[in-house]
Symmetry: none
Subunit: 425 residues, 2 copies
């Protein structure tokens, strides 16, 4: 099964946005064992979209076309697919009703333009819209298929997982191509990509020649994820879902043990678990509450914590003391420089007191571009106050611009808290 | 002159990296007035690279192929171009010497693999390498051309500017095609894409047939940007940079006037200006400071505001009162439900008082998945207290999951503040 991705939008050709949708779908297709030999991008022009789709159908078994399903005049993916299928577009009353309901629930009237989103090529079936107004389309072309999805990433991703992937799996099963490919990502923070690769080098080599009795194979890859740490991706190819899961669970245990032995507490989660999920798990298990005192991060740490559903049981709140006067007046930070270890510790104990939390986490530093209190950009102090202990602090020197310094500061502070909770358990 | 970009590398198809090279080149080509109707990505496979190049030559006047010029066995762009040209590869001694010198200057011996980088299709000329070991290639194919450049961004960019762009300009001048294409993005918040399209429909239609005395043309397109609003992109094609700038400035004024007339104060900036930049500009102009009281957003609004360099002059800080007890104790919110208009207003005045700011902005609501205080997920109240006025509040019903509700809440609150500052000026 070979699928070609066609991204539609003049803004892609003009380089106004990078085509991250195609990269995302490419990754998902690969993980599902679907080959993708070509990607194309094309502008908002019907003749060219038609040519791109015909080119794709001539050299692949199916096409995912992404974008151009919006309500405006330059959204012409529907018309282009109908031309490729040699059929008419028919307006679907049920889709109109669904779009109208969406507008009504937002207390707005549906503009007439949105009616275009209810146009469906004859013979196509729809992928019901749940997030945006545009439905997706599944369009048979001979024995091949064109899937159409909106270009808005979260709409595309939801439809891809709900409708396209299952349909592809069904087609692969019919063609007798099914092998299950599953991945599990072990998430780490605090080690370099080359450090991880070194720690796991022997295991990676062993797996090159390994296959289980039932023919399963395993690979390990490393993916840098910016400030969110390095991901260790385990990929199993196996005869069934159950076998793949068992192989992955076994390998996860092994990888965790190797990493813990060589590099310490660097694993904070698997797959979609973020650093804040790790914190939530630890705090809930201990029945403890947390309060923050943020300065350079401006609320970023709090904003990450409330990502976790149920955070209200353990997250009390934060004092964002961006102005120094607020650090002194509200948090009781002593007079003097506010970019210091002492200020970070006093912010942590201040947060505990003012917010009535068991634990206080404070952070102060210089995001740049200018220095402050004799400290250069990238200098950050994290203070942590745990119940029944003296507050402690940790100094960081972070690279990068203003935004990266703040992002790194936030996750560094959360990781410090994570390790302290683990150590105290 | 229509140029197609072909990016070579299996890692692009697998989504291991996003294709930022094509976006960069697309932007450069557009700015130089070169049309680009298609981009392709293809893996490291000779038959498929040849097919991609032939496809590109069949529908464009020239091709830039990027990547696959390295020294390893999977770098086969040179072989593929030779196949398309129906010629042999010949090893160029001067290129070998240049590569050898590069290794010598780094005190290393040249591996034999690198000899492959000296292979040149008969009839092609080279773009001398100055940063990496691979030279670029300029390969005539009939009256069309294939340019080949390395995939390493800084090598590609240097060769593009030094050799490809001048060569394209020469070809366009010969064909009498020289023009400049420039864009400006007008950023809006609070109107739907179809609403904007309706408001500007007459102008979009007018522009279809419009060209100025000097032959400039203009187009208008709409781009949804998730929670960051809808972008209206103005693109001018003009004989010179100066004319393009003048045409865009004129059109920006016209579009702003139409939108203000039909849809109110929906324009908050142009190009890279974000909502927080608009807030910063308004507060600095008025010499006012801001304090926040955040609940469901957990610090997200503060984190956005400190994105703006110089925010310390006008941003005092925030009380993130996630726990209701903190709303009552610290911000002076009256006993009773905390998801209410009254609570939002009291949070705003509480922030003013506790943080000593001129303006207080408060936000409370239900992110979900569960309801609170008899209110369902997506119900949000924003409170605003301006100096010398009674506090006011605004109720929202927002769609989407927990994360989207919080993101929408944050930008909605900032937009409310923006409009209030504009109205009060």
């Amino acid at each position: 099964m070979r699928i070609e991705i066609v991204a539609v939008g003049t803004e892609l050709l003009l380089g106004q946005i990078a085509d991250t949708n195609s990269a995302w779908m490419g990754e998902q297709l690969a993980a599902a064992g679907v080959a993708s030999h070509f990607h194309q991008a094309v502008g908002d022009n019907q003749a060219r979209i038609v040519l791109a789709l015909r080119t794709a159908l001539s050299r692949s078994d199916g096409v995912i076309v992404c974008g151009g399903l919006g309500p405006t005049q330059d959204d012409i993916t529907r018309e282009s697919i109908a031309e490729v299928m040699h059929v008419e577009l028919v307006r679907d009353e049920r889709i109109i009703e669904r779009i109208r309901t969406m507008f009504t629930s937002r207390r707005r009237a549906m503009p007439d333009n949105n009616l275009r989103q209810a146009d469906v090529p004859v013979g196509a079936s729809i992928i019901e819209q749940t997030r945006g107004t545009a439905p997706g389309l599944v369009c048979p072309v001979g024995n091949k298929v064109i899937y159409a999805v909106p270009g808005v990433p979260h709409e595309m991703q939801e439809m891809f997982g709900r409708a396209i992937l299952p349909d592809l799996r069904r087609r692969m099963a019919e063609a007798g191509e099914e092998a299950v490919i599953k991945s599990r990502v072990v998430r780490t923070w605090g080690a370099s990509e080359s450090g991880l690769a070194e720690a796991l080098a022997d295991r990676v080599e062993e797996l090159d020649d390994w296959s289980s009795d039932d023919g399963s194979t395993l690979t390990i890859a490393f993916l840098a994820s910016g400030i969110e740490g390095i991901k260790v991706r385990l990929t199993a190819r196996a005869p069934s879902d159950e076998v793949a899961d068992a192989v992955l669970a076994d390998e996860e245990r092994r990888v965790r043990a190797i990493l813990a032995d060589r590099l310490g507490d660097i694993v904070f989660g698997v797959d979609d678990q973020a650093m804040e999920d790790a914190i939530a798990g630890l705090l809930v298990a201990r029945g403890m509450t947390l309060g923050l005192a943020e300065s350079l991060t401006g609320g970023l740490i709090g904003a990450r914590l409330v990502n976790v559903a149920g955070s209200s049981t353990w997250f009390r709140g934060a004092i964002v003391a961006y102005d120094s006067a607020i650090k002194h007046a509200l948090l009781g930070v002593s007079p003097g420089p506010v970019v210091s270890a002492q200020a970070a510790e006093e912010m942590a104990t201040g947060a505990q007191k003012v917010l009535g939390s068991d634990i206080g986490l404070g952070i102060t530093g210089v995001a740049g571009p200018d220095g402050q209190d004799g400290q250069g950009p990238g200098t950050v102090f994290i203070g942590l106050s745990l119940p029944g202990s003296e507050p402690l602090s940790h100094q960081l020197h972070l690279p990068g611009d203003r935004d990266r310094v703040r992002q790194f500061s936030a996750i560094s502070a959360l990781d410090l808290l994570r390790r302290a909770l683990l150590a105290g358990s």
